[in-house]
Symmetry: C2
Subunit: 137 residues, 2 copies
């Protein structure tokens, strides 16, 4: 699954992984931020489904492997410093990219000196089983 | 400028800084990804202008300090793991968040196994002086 485009990505700066910002292809909303190593990038390009690298689990993380909330990749962008990616995706399943059941992991806004939930849940993540989402990604 | 909201942010996971995704407040487009330490976060909240932490320069980076392309912060969001922020901003000056003169640092898209520039420049960054943008942020 080697892809020549991977050679341009500077995986060395943060220990073999780069940050990945995943946005909704239609609304452009930021859904989540995760990490990719070269293998995850190449699998993502080859399969058309988002595959990240979980730093806490130290392995590839095929988004949706537990919940069915996988992501169909529509576009991949690279930044000027070649060390960050943006994926534009269609969020499948229950439409919840966040392991807490929200559309976006960024469901809290700063209000004065407090963080307040500004969104409503799409789904109760308990439906995916008792262990789901208990490990940070 | 201490802000109680900073206590909720997990700055420890990546050596005292967290990734920050900066989006255009109106269009939601991802403009750039940078880093903040606690001091940068607190200055951003206190002043209403984006202040990052430059890992390469090892100091606070007041966005626009050289170019005038500063960012007025309209909203700050925190993710479920409390280790990543999204800023929604109005991009001032020439409307170029990227040090290469593009609106967004993510001006290249993956086309097969090549990265291709998909956007046009807003401004020639040479106007900001000969040293501008030569140091990675």
């Amino acid at each position: 699954m080697a892809n020549k485009a991977a050679e341009a990505i500077d995986f060395g700066k943060t220990g073999g992984v780069v940050p990945v910002v995943t946005v909704d292809h239609a609304s452009r909303r930021v859904l989540m931020v995760a990490w990719m190593n070269r293998e995850a990038f190449e699998e993502t390009v080859a399969t058309g489904r988002a595959c990240y690298f979980s730093r806490s689990r130290n392995r590839l993380w095929r988004k949706g492997e537990e919940s069915g909330n996988f992501q169909v990749v529509r576009e991949i962008r690279l930044d000027c410093d070649e060390d960050t990616l943006v994926l534009a995706v269609e969020q499948s399943g229950d439409g919840a990219a966040c392991h807490l059941g929200y559309e976006s992991c960024f469901f809290r806004t700063l209000d004065g000196d407090e963080w307040r939930a500004a969104d409503t849940r799409k789904v109760d993540p308990a439906k995916y089983g008792p262990g789901y989402g208990h490990q940070k990604k």
